[in-house]
Amino acid sequence: MSKQINVALIGNPNTGKTSVFNALTGLNQKVGNYPGITVEKKEGVCKLPRGVKAHIIDLPGTYSLNASSLDENVVIELLLNKNDKDFPDLAVVVSDVENLKRNLLLYTQIKDLEIPTILVINMADRMAYKGISLDLEYLETHLKTKIALVSTRKNQGIDRLKTLISNYKDLSISHCINLSEIDPAYFENLQSTFPNQLIYKLWLVITQDVNFGKTDRNEIDAVANFKTKSKNDLKRLQQKETIKRYQFINDVLKKGQTIDVANAKDLRMTFDRIITHKIWGYAIFFVILLTIFQAIYDWSSVPMDFIDSAFASFSEWTKNQLPVGAFTSLLTEGIIPGLGGIVIFIPQIAFLFLFISVLEESGYMSRVVFLMDRIMRRFGLSGKSIVPLISGTACAIPAIMATRNIENWKERLITILVTPFITCSARLPVYLIIISLIIPEGRFIGLSYQALTLMFLYLLGFGTAVFSAYILNKILKIKSKTFFVVEMPNYKLPLLKNVVLTVLEKTKSFVFGAGKIILAISIVLWFLASFGPGKDFNNAEEITKKAYSNQNLTSEELQQKIASHKLEHSFIGITGRAIEPIIRPLGYDWKIGIAIVSSFAAREVFVGTLATIYSVGNDDEDTIKNRMAGEVNPILGGPLFNFASGISLLLFYAFAMQCMSTLAVVKRETNSWKWPVLQLTIMSAFAYVVALIAFQILK
């Protein structure tokens, strides 16, 4: 068996680290979570020359080993824990040729941990353009490493990197700086107290507030308590350390790198003059948002209609192929319609993730952070909250995780609490189907009424989020030190491969994650709807025949009456009617009630649930939408989904907190049950009241 090399890929954000990871591993990658926390863990396998395999971990981007966020903690926890199964045999530090000086800071820190390290200088294709030339031999000698000059865009240098990885045993592990020189007395004392430990490792344990796992616990506690200096003194030492590292880097780069400014071209300034402009900047941002909504609504409707009718005919085809029986009806009335309810919104999710990943990759998102910071701060949010709020339109779960780079705890907490108001893609199928039922077709200055309604719902979600942030900012009494540093990366044309991989991976995990819940719920629902207690259910045929004996019904009409009588007296019907009094004032019948209750697992279940309920006992294989349009309100008469009940339902879904996964993530991110429980009760109560008022006014 060949030996596997553990490789950790480390680098600053915006250095193209993920492109290097994609180039090394291709499709051999998987995304998981670090145990106990929701930081994404990307790992993959790379085949090296001579049959050796490398197990590569793409660590979260960080500027330094002095961690200031959960994501960055992951990096230092791994690098300091020799007992971790992923502890790297070698580190590959990815840097960007245009920001070499700053990127090398992290490199010197990793070298001082005595981990064999390769330096990747990425984006080499930009060198000529920027007038940069490098003396690689000089740099390799003085940085005490091997360098791979890589361009993922042009696919250059990856083979050399692979060769370097397979020969990692030849790498030097000598330090870059001598830490003791900063404060000889302090560091010599530290070293003599813990003679077996690496001085830089000791220093990190003292200065970093991270969880080092169970290994060496006692010793680490002892080190961490070795605080003969005050917090401010420690910070001064860290400042000195940083200055010393830059001196080392400057000395090396003075000879190893030349930049011919005359040859450098900079389009960034031209772009930024417009994109971050006081007026044009905001106008461009608005147009981009409009385009996204138009895409989600208009462009994705074609594949969606296709999927909807394909599932309807697939269900019918299956029914004709298989013998009549419980299994067939479970398949055609439970599983297939339930799955159809999730597959149908793959196009929209893909579009959303496509836009978000393009905005992130191109460097535009940082400009939005810059433009919005001052405005968002009025509402107790940070400019950085805009990233979670925008990605919240895809899904609140990654959005809440994206709040991690908000340094201020209060701003971060408020962002977490209000993000679920943002219209996520799970609300989309509910919105789309109801809008198509109650809002007439037709256009207003080129935009359809239906698209405008959708846009209004998005604005409503955003407005509510911002408004509740404003209130939370007034209520919450949290004092936390604030600081705000955002890198403004260079504009880059997004790499097709990165975008495609992100869209594929996110869509896949979304569909499979939600798919499992939906499948399980559809099966349970089918059982509950197909069986019932007592003679009302079992003798449905006779009872119905008796009731309608004096009317001249065709056999088809009679069958339908029987089916609906059965459904009403099934387990699900009984439960539904039990909760009906609560939801009737909102204009819903018990079937919608069941769909709402099952939506508390995940909103997107709504359409699948209705599809399953309406399929049971219904022979003609119609699309979900047509079936919903045919439903009649049992008390008021007229279509069940009319303007009043439709608006009430839209508002209910806009405000209610109906997503267990989001609640779980909020619990993990805030480390307390208090916040998710508050979210659940306040949001849902608010949703109920608003929906109630809306229906009572409009009916």
Binding site: N99, T242, R268, D272, T276, F483, F484, V485, V486
Partner: protein
Amino acid sequence: MENTLANIKKGERCIITDVSSIHIPLKLLEMGCLPGNYVELVQVAPFHDPMYLNINGTHLAIRKETAMHILIKR
């Protein structure tokens, strides 16, 4: 007027002289905001806040409240 980074004008280029205030996050120093390095104000958002800076070749945005603690010479 005090010589702090918060007071420089758009397009102006200065040299950083002191960053020892404890209100300056370490992260900013690590990104190159160190004495002796140049700093240029690239763009400002409305109300002069936040400020989009070019510090020694690194482009970043910080709030005015942080910029107030960074001393410069023109």
